[in-house]
Amino acid sequence: MAASPAFALEAMGESGLLLRFGERIDAALNARVHAAARVLRDAALPGLEDLVPTYASLLLRFDAAAAADAARMREVERRVRAALAAAGAAAQPIAGDAPARVVEIPVCYGGDCGPDLEAVAAHAGIDASTLIARHAAGDYRVAMLGFAPGFPYLLGLDPALHAPRLATPRTRVPAGSVAIGGAQAGIYPRELPGGWRIVGRTPLVLFDAAREPPCLLAPGDRVRFRAIDAAEFARLAGAAP
């Protein structure tokens, strides 16, 4: 084998196998996680129930029949290593891989939609319109979904826009709120408590259990924000399913 697979594999309880590619929030590392997830999703691992990519690691969670069977779990581990070695996925995204989907998300910045816009701009030492331009210029990537169904953790936030979380989290953040939490960006899929700084709101519905797929965004997707005004927000919100 040319390169030893650059990940550590550890058991997570009886049912989980965790593949750790690193311990940092880093776009290249996260891209390897998504590449490995694609390879392993196609590997038809017996008993696999969930495959959960996060920033720098990937969890494979198996059903009880597999978790109860040491020999089967050893075989699964062998197949995981073999599949990733064959694909070279542990080293880099697969050559010729389909390009990531790009999802455009319209955002109404500031005002009632983005109550923290001014404070974030002040923190960054720029004016509000510059903040909007720089936030909307970013090329974001869905590193993972978590916290609540359909909540995307986005990589790619302009470092100048990093902003500390609120000292006291809000008990209610409206659905669609586009927010900054430290170096991370995210979007609240429904009304939730939260301590991230809210800079705007999208009229798009990020999570709807009755929809297939239920989430607007999937791990690995690319995201572009587009600034819209209140009138367009109202029009899109009215048209949203």
């Binding site: 997570m12 929030i25 969930d50 495959l51 959960v52 978790a67 109860a68 259990a209």
Partner: protein, 342 residues
């Protein structure tokens, strides 16, 4: 057939095996907290293992049955009365149309399961009829039962023993289908025994300081009042790492023992978030997680170390016992219908 909710109880939710397969979208599996108790309730009611039943927390609901039904209650020993007469637990029980099932408190334990033949037939959401209370996801808009709810009950395709097949004219006391047998619950419910829960090592177990490692396995913890279907917070010895760790969020599984900076350990339960950034100092063995789910606030919790091999072996044994029992119950129910009416 349907069931009317007269009183909802403290926290009564429809539950099944949950919704695996969506964790990558931030949607957890959730499902029953004491999965073996749910499966046995279904078996006793004549349902498939994945049918939806009610999970009852500490104080039960009062329900009116709009048609004849067969029910079974498992899990924590709950005060159960049908039109005032005590109903047996861990056994199939016949309920007449119009009867009121009043479920009260539990002597000990935290969760009982009520299965109804045919299963609770609410429309599934993302493949499950279970309610994920924390994510507000599932039927009933993802909430617990409320007074006035009407729960539809389905029909099993191969029902060996339809609830309405035998009717007598006179109202009768609650009747076990086979008054001479009920399941021996002892292997499936802890009662007052406080055997330690076995814990597997996790990524950051070795980062615990020596005193904390000793306290984890020698100390006694208590289930904190703010414990729920998301996680069990443990009062007792405060645990500490040799040095603080700044971690990037990684995925979690049910049973993961997290250690936030406060030093109060949290065991992740059915509705745990799919990822988290706290150090992981252990995993409660899968066979012991339902036992933890039956502890209520104030109950003692002790831990004992185990290995992955032993935990897998015990899980295999439990699955084998459960499957044998489910098959034996199904055979018995089938024989009774063929054996004719008593």
């Amino acid at each position: 057939m349907s069931i009317e909710v007269l009183k909802p109880g403290l926290l009564t939710t429809p539950q099944d095996r949950g919704r695996p397969g969506y964790a990558q979208l931030g949607i957890g599996r959730a499902g029953a907290m004491d999965a073996p108790a749910l499966r046995l309730a279904n078996a006793l009611a004549g349902n498939p293992a994945d049918a939806c039943a009610l999970e009852i927390t500490l104080l039960g609901p009062t329900l009116r049955f709009r048609a004849d039904a067969v029910i079974a209650l498992t899990g924590a020993p709950i005060d159960a009365r049908i039109d005032g007469a005590r109903a047996p637990l861990w056994a199939p029980v016949r309920v007449r149309a119009g009867a009121v099932l009043a479920l009260g408190g539990m002597r000990h334990g935290c969760r009982s399961y009520l299965a109804v033949r045919g299963g609770i037939a609410l429309a599934p959401v993302l493949g499950s009829r279970g309610v994920d209370v924390n994510a507000a996801l599932g039927p009933l808009d993802g909430r617990a039962l409320r007074a006035g709810d009407v729960l539809p009950v389905g029909t099993n395709a191969d029902d060996p023993h339809p609830a309405s097949s035998r009717r007598d004219d006179a109202p009768s006391p609650p009747q076990a289908i086979s008054p001479d047998w009920s399941l021996d619950f002892r292997p499936w419910f802890d009662g007052e025994a406080q055997r330690p829960l076995r814990v597997l090592p996790a990524t950051h177990t070795c980062n615990l300081d020596a005193a904390s490692r000793a306290a984890l396995f020698e100390g006694t913890f208590r289930v904190a009042v703010d414990s729920n279907r998301v996680g069990y917070r443990l009062d007792g010895p405060r645990l500490a790492l040799t040095a603080p760790l700044e971690l990037v969020s990684e995925a979690s599984v049910a049973g993961t023992v997290q250690l936030p900076p406060s030093g109060q350990a949290i065991v992740l339960m059915a509705e745990h978030p799919v990822s988290g950034g706290y150090p992981r100092i252990g995993h409660v063995a899968a066979v012991d997680l339902p036992r933890l789910a039956q502890r209520r606030p104030g109950d003692a919790v002790r831990f004992a170390a185990t290995t992955l091999e032993e935990a897998r072996r015990r899980l295999a044994e439990r699955e084998h016992r459960l499957q044998r029992l489910e098959a034996a119950i199904a055979t018995r129910l089938a024989n009774e219908v063929h054996g004719g009416a008593r």
